[in-house]
């Protein structure tokens, strides 16, 4: 089957029931997407499919043929997505294992709701577990990323004008 990951086409020969997570990690070699539970409980495996957050640990890769898959490696060229910059500024990470999923979940939220409330953040991010308990800084960083995105967009707008 053919998969579109981060804008690149990959031809993979895997069982039809094989979850995208393991195709990414063990076949294609993109290990930024993490395994935490294997049953949609922790969000460490979050990727974007056509721009929306999706748990790759339970979704068969075969169901994603023809769709655009974005992983943490494809979110930005140089860790410069507003969410990544906000995460670095806010000193969010600890062990860091869940953070690929956290960043992808936050990026998907902000793409949908550029100015999320705390309740929006609760609703969008409570499926992403962090055992280090970085939640408070995650919340602050999502708000910060929202501000950075607004600034980015107005800059881009300026270029267009």
């Amino acid at each position: 089957m053919k998969l579109d990951v981060n804008g690149r086409q990959y031809e993979v020969d895997v069982p039809t029931d094989m979850p995208l997570l393991w195709v990414l990690r063990d076949v294609i070699g993109l290990t930024g997407t993490k395994f935490g539970c294997g049953m949609m409980q922790c969000g460490a495996c979050t990727v974007h499919v056509d721009g929306a957050a999706m748990r790759s640990c339970v979704t068969p890769a075969s169901a994603l043929v023809g769709k655009k898959i974005t992983t943490i490696e494809g979110l930005s060229a140089d860790a410069n997505h507003a969410v990544q910059r906000a995460w670095i500024e806010t000193d969010v990470v600890q062990c860091g294992y869940c953070q690929s999923g956290q960043v992808m979940a936050a990026a998907a939220l902000l793409a949908q709701k550029p100015k999320p409330t705390d309740a929006d953040i609760d609703a969008a991010m409570s499926g992403n577990l962090c055992r280090c308990g970085t939640y408070q800084r995650i919340r602050a960083a999502v708000h910060r990323a929202s501000d950075l995105l607004v600034a980015d967009n107005s800059e881009e707008g300026g270029h267009v004008a």
Binding site: V14, P15, M18, W22, R25, D26, V27, G29, L30, T31, G32, T33, K34, F35, G36, C37, G38, M39, Q41, C42, A44, T71, I72, E73, L75, S76, D78, A79, V83, Q84, W87, I88, E89, D91, V92, V93, Q94, C95, G96, Y97, C98, Q99, S100, V103, I121, D122, M125, S126, N128, L129, C130, R131, C132, G133, T134, Y135, Q136, R137, I138, R139
Partner: protein
């Protein structure tokens, strides 16, 4: 108490290091030093380590001025990747933006200065290496100055350092330009360390050095390791602790596409495949016949009943003063029994280990807290010398103690799989394997009794603790189990700060055995004693009709560090001031790992839905001198979140020998929507430096339980807290 042990070990040796320098093949300056013979002999006698004679390299300065600091401690979230380089860079006087960190290899010279083996644990990393890293930085700086002075033909005394340069009058040269020459110089016998008032890095909020890698998927964890021709293995382990495998049929597993091999190892049967998915499908297709043995009758319900019975009888005495029994005669007793369950650590990164056996030795790639133990265990299994086993420490996706097993369980198993299959292999655990896999925080029952004097203060206090020993049966036993008392079982209880003011007191211990493997879980014994002691003191305050804050203040010495933390937390919280309707506050203060932490929780109780909501936590810590305030804040938030998972959710139970929980659906942990607003305040302190990785955990459960009592009148004496 663990800390007291550490300090004894440190103080028994000379603190003066022998300094020497050596050049790495890559060129540049490497500062190296090793510890003197006294510690080496002490460790040899205690059977803890080989001679610590190899050079201990901590810093490498490249021609391009990049300063690479080698960490003997593992980065598992606690921030050593940043805080330890800060300590060395402070004395080196280099440009912080040029500083990088790397995990050191496993080598005797990277041994913990108090524990004598390479390890990360006990919230010790910063204080145990503070002086060592400062010396390494200062020595490198002295050598760089000497090299520049020689180049200029000037006395070293006329030269100074500044942010990565050596300067003499008008002349200025970067560290990178003199690093090679500096490496060839003999090391100074002694170096002068900075005065604390001149620190420019230590004490300043400093952002992490590992953020960019961790927000872009580039950071390499053990589970991400890829070696040539590597297979992935998933292991079928005993369904009950102590079970033995009678026979197995691998035909179905071997027939699956992607499955390459199936091998038996001491812990079970491993299925090796081209990728995890095939290995797991293969594991699930195995037909296994186990002899369950005596473990099959294990149940936590029965254990609990047994523990409660034991708690009624005197145990091995850990601490005693006065005549408790006489004091109790005829007195009105306040009695309470507390229980906490087995807990899994459940780090986000499931356990894993990659093993590559070569002609001249073996390579182990894993996120571990216990390099020395892992190295030796692997060497024993493979018939190699320890130095032939190269341990490559990756980032750890959480540790919390689970990656510090005295048996090196997950490393040993992977070595067995590689040995039996003759393949390079990465063994990956599923989340279910992790939850079922043992090495839990022990289940504990505590029975407390106290009588009060006329002033309301406790006149006599008896505390009987029942729970499995973590240390018994490990190489640490000779040092840490004395007269039948495992220090880690009673830490925080036998040295409770209130006991000094109680004329008659006794703390004793029963250490029943079971087939369930137990292990240190973030804050170890304090994870139960903090809850028990701080809940009971709250009960005594209530019985004495005193305010919980004032009651504690009256029992604690005025100049105690507990008091300082408590007073700061109370002031910042606004203790006693009105709270929103339905909210109530509870507090706790607890010393662990050399740091004193007070926490005040603001909660509300939804009686109808039997739900506890923690709205806000104010935390004050006295950890002595602070290296990175951002780390201290992060670790307090982290400890509170970890402790809340246990206070509100965590419980491992057994029925018919089997663990009843499986994954995050039935072993829930704290989620973002449950995270309270946490405020962290640091007590300005020049007292002895303590740790920060664990001390944030113990006070949160009692603070919340005490707040629940204040809110609802329900005194909850079991974790997880459940509203009746």
């Amino acid at each position: 108490m663990l800390r007291e042990y550490f300090h004894k070990a440190t103080n028994s040796t000379s603190r003066r290091e022998f300094l020497k320098s050596t050049a790495l093949v890559s060129g540049g300056l490497v500062v190296a030093f090793c510890w003197p013979g006294a510690l080496r002999r002490a460790i040899a006698q205690q059977g803890m380590g080989a001679a610590m004679t190899s050079p201990n390299a901590f810093v490498h300065i490249a021609a391009d001025n990049t300063v690479t600091i080698l960490l003997k401690h593992s980065e598992m979230g606690q921030g050593v990747w940043t805080s330890l380089p800060m300590v060395l860079a402070e004395e080196l006087d280099c440009d912080w933006t040029n500083v990088r960190a790397e995990h050191a290899p496993a080598a005797p010279a990277y041994a913990h200065t108090a524990f004598g083996m390479q390890m990360t644990g006990g919230s010790t990393s910063t204080w145990e290496s503070f002086e060592q890293l400062r010396n390494a930085g200062a020595m490198a700086r002295a050598l760089l100055i000497q090299a520049a002075a020689a180049k200029w033909n000037k006395p070293a005394a006329d030269c100074r350092s500044e942010n990565g340069f050596v300067i003499c009058g008008e002349q200025k040269i970067s560290y990178g330009q003199v690093a090679d020459a500096a490496a060839k110089l003999p090391a100074p016998s002694d170096v002068k360390l900075k005065d604390a008032k001149d620190f420019r890095l230590i004490g300043k909020p400093t952002r992490r050095l590992d953020s960019a890698a961790k927000v872009s998927g580039k950071a390499e964890f053990g589970i991400d390791v890829k070696r040539p021709d590597m297979l992935i293995a998933v292991v079928a382990r005993a369904p009950v602790f102590g079970a033995t495998l009678k026979s197995f049929d691998a035909a179905k597993a071997k027939a699956l596409p992607g499955v390459v091999d199936v091998v038996q190892v001491p812990s079970g049967v491993a299925v090796l495949a081209k990728h995890f998915w095939a290995a797991k499908q293969g594991r699930d297709a195995l037909v296994l016949d186990w002899d369950l043995g005596a473990g099959a009758s294990l149940s936590t319900q029965t254990m609990r009943a047994d523990y409660r019975k034991l708690a009624q009888t005197p145990g091995a005495v850990a601490k005693t003063a006065g005549d408790v029994d006489a004091a109790f005669k005829g007195a009105k007793l306040i009695e309470a029994e507390y229980e906490v369950p087995f807990l899994a650590h459940a780090p986000m990164e499931p356990l894993n280990c990659t093993v590559e056996i070569g002609k001249d030795g073996a390579d182990i790639y894993t996120g571990t807290q216990f390099q020395t133990m892992d190295q030796r265990t692997a060497a024993t299994i493979l018939g190699l010398k320890p130095e032939q086993v190269r341990v490559h420490t990756t980032f750890l996706g959480g540790g919390f103690g689970r990656r510090a097993t005295p048996t090196s369980d997950f490393v040993a198993e992977a070595v067995h799989v590689a040995k039996a299959s003759g393949r390079t292999v990465k063994v990956v655990w599923t989340r279910e394997d992790d939850i079922h896999g043992g090495y839990y925080r022990p289940m504990w029952v505590s029975r407390l009794r106290a009588s009060l004097g006329k002033d309301g203060k406790p006149a006599a206090w008896a505390h009987t603790i029942v729970g499995q020993s973590i240390i018994a049966g490990t190489p640490f036993e000779p040092m840490m189990v004395k007269n039948g008392v495992d220090d880690t079982s009673v830490e925080g209880a036998a040295d409770a700060p209130y006991l000094a003011a109680v004329p008659a007191h006794r703390v004793d211990l029963h250490s029943p055995k079971s087939p369930i493997p137990v292990l240190w879980w973030r804050s170890v014994g304090h994870s139960h004693t903090g809850f028990v002691v701080e809940s009971f003191v709250d009960e005594l305050a209530h019985a004495a009709k005193k305010d919980p804050l004032e009651y504690r203040r009256a029992l604690l010495p005025a100049d105690s560090r507990e008091r300082r933390a408590l007073d700061l937390a109370a002031a910042k919280f606004g203790w006693g001031k009105p709270l929103p309707k339905g909210h109530a506050a509870g507090l706790a203060v607890h010393q662990s790992f050399g740091s004193y932490v007070a926490q005040i929780a603001e909660v509300s109780v939804d009686a109808k839905n039997k739900a506890i909501k923690v709205h806000r936590v104010v935390c004050a810590i006295d950890c002595g001198p602070v290296v990175n305030p951002l780390t201290v804040e992060a670790q307090m938030q982290s400890g509170i979140a970890y402790g809340l998972s246990a206070a509100l959710h965590g419980e491992i139970t057994f029925k018919d020998g089997k663990v009843q929980q499986n994954n995050f659906n039935d072993y829930p942990v704290l989620r973002l929507n449950e995270m309270p607003k946490v405020e962290v305040h640091i007590v300005p302190s020049t007292d002895k430096m303590g740790g920060v990785g664990e001390p944030g955990v113990p006070p949160i459960a009692p603070a919340v339980a005490n707040a629940v009592f204040a809110a609802s009148g329900q005194r909850l004496r079991q974790l997880p807290l459940r509203i009746a």
